[in-house]
């Protein structure tokens, strides 16, 4: 039996039972769609988060005081092993280091005339705007002063500026933070949130001033932005050596952006995987549907199968015919499922534009591949039972 004969057999068989075929395909395509939508959502989330993290570039190393494995939290606490501004200065003199941003965070009242606002205060270095892609709306960012002798200057986040000054140009005016007066030298353009921290509801002051304000002996973090010519391992190695030389032993934690990304990627991949698994349950039920329907078809067509065998068709031919039917059901189901997903994603895009969804070609091709494989698996049992029939018995069934 050549390919044209078999395919016309398969399609005629499906066409003769249109309702049945349609319903089977609908069920299966809902299953495929459930799986694809969930994996697209998971993938979208993954891409979104990774973008959020890589927006500052990927050549970053963070140093936190204290040698613990607690990601990030260590820096917020007190420590008996401080990271000093001198450490930051020393690191900035290493080759291939582009920017070094010392960081100390806290919360304080910022006051201008009668208006006051409690807000986050970031003690940073002069290069923070370049490092964090902050755009300056008015004035300029903190100057690259000597870290040890920083002046009392402040750059306001856009929200703080609006709350304290309204429409007035604040550059050159003075605000009171804690008990000291700071001169406003710039306003940062609206930036939005980063990982739950509103970067607009924040003011930036020199790190040295920040340590005084919060009475801290240690920086919370030093962010190092290095030249792409160096690898993060080589860079981490150099920083580590330098700090051990300065401190006597390893009393700090280095986290490279690569490590953070790998960790995030792992977590998010697991999430995507779980979502896909959740959708796969519906697909499983859809597959059971294909099996059931093919079982029925095989029984109904016993006589035809008998005739085919009597005319010289091998068991192999019979098996291939029914497998072909399952494959076509799976493939058409998959295509319908992907179309359904495209429609759903379009709806999501129209009504919830913020929701990150990504329908990559890999997912689409993967979905089609999976539908065919599942179709074949679902059809294997009915095909086997059709192939098992002896021609005599099958013909007698008529």
């Amino acid at each position: 039996m050549n390919f044209r004969d078999s395919s016309s057999w398969v399609f005629r068989a499906l066409w003769m039972q249109r309702t049945r075929t349609l319903l089977t395909i609908v069920g299966f395509s809902i299953g495929i769609a459930a799986m694809v939508v969930l994996s697209a959502l998971g993938e979208g989330l993954r891409v979104f988060v990774l973008n959020e993290f890589t927006q500052f570039g990927s050549h970053i190393i963070a140093v936190n005081p204290g040698k613990t494995e607690t990601f990030g939290v260590g820096g917020l606490l007190n420590t008996t092993r401080p990271l000093s501004l001198n450490d930051a200065t020393a690191i900035s003199q290493l080759p291939n280091v582009e920017e070094v941003v010392p960081l100390v965070m806290g919360n304080a009242k910022v006051k201008h005339n009668q208006r006051a606002r409690y807000t986050d205060v970031a003690g940073v270095g002069g290069a923070a705007d370049k490092a964090w892609n902050l755009e300056i709306a008015q004035g300029r960012f903190l100057p690259a002063d000597d870290l040890q002798r920083a002046r009392a200057l402040v750059v306001l986040g856009s929200k703080v500026k609006t709350e304290l000054f309204g429409g007035v140009n604040p550059v050159g005016r003075f605000v009171r933070i804690g008990s000291e007066c700071y001169r406003v030298i710039g306003v940062v353009a609206p930036k939005g949130e980063f990982l739950g921290t509103d970067l607009d509801d924040m003011v930036f002051i020199p790190a040295g001033k920040g340590m005084q304000l919060f009475n801290r002996q240690s920086l919370m973090e030093i962010d190092i932005f290095f030249n792409p010519r160096s690898t993060s391992e080589a860079m981490a190695d150099k920083i580590s050596h330098l700090l051990i030389e300065r401190h006597g032993f390893e009393d700090f934690t280095l986290i490279t952006q690569d490590q953070v990304l790998i960790t995030m990627d792992n977590i998010l991949s697991i999430l995507t995987f779980a979502g896909t698994g959740l959708g796969a349950i519906s697909l499983l039920v859809g597959a059971v549907g294909i099996t059931t329907i093919l079982m029925i078809t095989v029984t109904e067509r016993t006589a035809e199968v008998g005739l085919l065998r009597a005319l010289g068709g091998t068991t192999q031919t019979v098996r291939m015919l029914f497998l072909g039917e399952a494959l076509v059901l799976g493939l058409i189901g998959g295509i319908c499922g992907v179309l359904l997903v495209a429609f759903l994603l379009l709806l999501i895009y129209l009504f919830v534009p913020g929701l990150p969804v990504a329908l990559s070609p890999t997912i689409v091709l993967g979905a089609l591949g999976i539908s065919m494989v599942i179709g074949l698996l679902a059809g294997s049992q009915p095909a086997a039972s059709a192939a098992k029939m002896t021609p005599i018995d099958a013909l007698r069934a008529e």
Binding site: G178, L278, G279, V285
Partner: protein, 390 residues
């Protein structure tokens, strides 16, 4: 037609097509079991949170330094503000009526060493009250004494992991360890207890609050935990706390008060939404099963054309025919659901999960069996008896 007639009619077809019936039951069972299983997972996570909080059995208010103007956002977690929250503030808060206990906390990281081994750990400076508020107990030795509230005693309590890392299996009680640049005597080892609210208490060191003040050279408290009486009004106490802090801080309200209840409620909300979403997604599989049932019913109707013709010829009404086929689907659903529930029930699903799964299962079953049943009822008796298409 009696109900038993209906059952025997349906039973015939189930027995005639054992494989088909088995597969249908499997489809429904997968759907029902997945709804129940996944909701029990979500509910389990919620129950875990609830237990973590309420195993403490007390109501806790947390005071942290700093304040944010935008409410609803995250609390100021940095623990740094120009005006420190001091031990004196904590003591004053303890005098508010309705507050049972106050545990001030200074937190930091430091190195703890014994002979040649050392380990970098999170160190909490607090008092005997902390053990009560967080319901911690020592497995060996004793907790910090009441003198630790006001005196810089050179003593410490080790988390079980710190003890193992530094001392192995040998005895730690009474030994001296080096904490930062100080020497302290080990007076207790915490009992084995896993993570508590995200803090791994096993890998921690507890020292008196005054000692921590000296060790970290900082009078600023990281947090104050207040244990409030079960009968007290949490909102009123929060107001009193803010008022007291204002009067002590020159009229500035520069702290944030979080109640454990509100934290719990927020988590609870998130998890409940998540559970609902998962339940909705897994009920898609029931929808697919429903479509399969419809498909099979249609086939079943066309296969039993002659029987239906006969039934109609001897006087069965259209309603009765409909009832026969809808009954068949519902019977399938019931058996499939029973299978699914039987499979998933040992996991102690939430109370609403089983009824919800059943409602969805029967809903889809009913919805998808109406069309085939109508088709059966509309058959012309004469043509159907002859086995002809209409």
């Amino acid at each position: 037609m009696r109900l038993s007639d209906q059952f025997s009619f349906n039973r015939q077809i189930f027995l005639r097509h054992k494989v088909r019936t088995g597969l249908l039951l499997l489809a429904v069972a997968i759907g029902v079991a997945s709804v129940i299983l996944l909701t029990s997972l979500g509910e389990g996570a919620r129950g875990y949170m609830d237990r973590e909080f309420s195993a403490l059995g007390n109501r806790i208010l947390i005071v942290l330094p700093g304040r944010k103007e935008t409410t609803g956002g995250g609390p100021p977690i940095y623990g740094a503000a120009p005006r420190d929250l001091t031990l004196e503030d904590a003591n004053a808060l303890g005098r508010i009526p309705g507050v049972l206990a106050v545990a001030p906390i200074i937190a930091g990281t430091t190195t703890v060493a014994h002979s040649s081994r050392s380990r970098e750990v999170i160190t909490l400076g607090s008092s005997d009250k902390f053990f009560g508020v967080r319901q911690l107990a020592v497995g060996a030795g004793r907790i910090l004494s009441s003198r630790s509230r006001s005196e810089p005693l050179a003593v410490c309590v080790l988390g079980i992991k710190v003890k193992r890392e530094l001392f192995g299996s040998s005895r730690a009680l009474g030994e001296w360890v080096r904490v930062g640049d100080r020497r302290m005597r080990v007076i207790g080892v915490l009992e084995e207890r896993g993570e508590s609210l995200g803090l791994d208490m096993r890998d921690m060191l507890l020292i008196p609050v005054r000692t921590a003040e000296q060790l970290f050279d900082s009078p600023g408290l990281f947090r104050i935990l207040l244990d409030i009486a079960p009968s007290a009004d949490s909102d009123k106490i929060q107001e009193k706390i803010l008022k007291l802090i204002r009067s002590r801080h020159d009229g500035e309200e520069d702290v944030t008060v979080i109640s454990q209840d509100s934290m719990l409620a927020a988590f609870d909300n998130i998890l409940a939404t998540l559970t609902m979403a998962i339940a909705a997604i897994s009920s898609i599989s029931l929808l697919v099963a429903g479509i399969l049932i419809m498909n099979i019913s249609l086939i079943s109707v066309s296969q039993r054309r002659q029987e239906i013709g006969l039934l109609k010829a001897i006087g069965a009404s259209s309603r009765q025919i409909k009832q026969l086929f809808i009954g068949e689907s519902l019977l399938l659903i019931s058996m499939g659901s029973a299978l699914g529930i039987g499979f998933a029930f040992p996991l102690q699903p939430p109370n609403w999960a089983v009824p919800a799964a059943l409602v969805v299962a029967f809903g889809t079953g009913l919805m998808f069996s109406i069309m085939p049943a109508k088709r059966a009822a509309a058959l012309d008796p004469v043509l159907a008896l002859r086995g002809l298409q209409q």
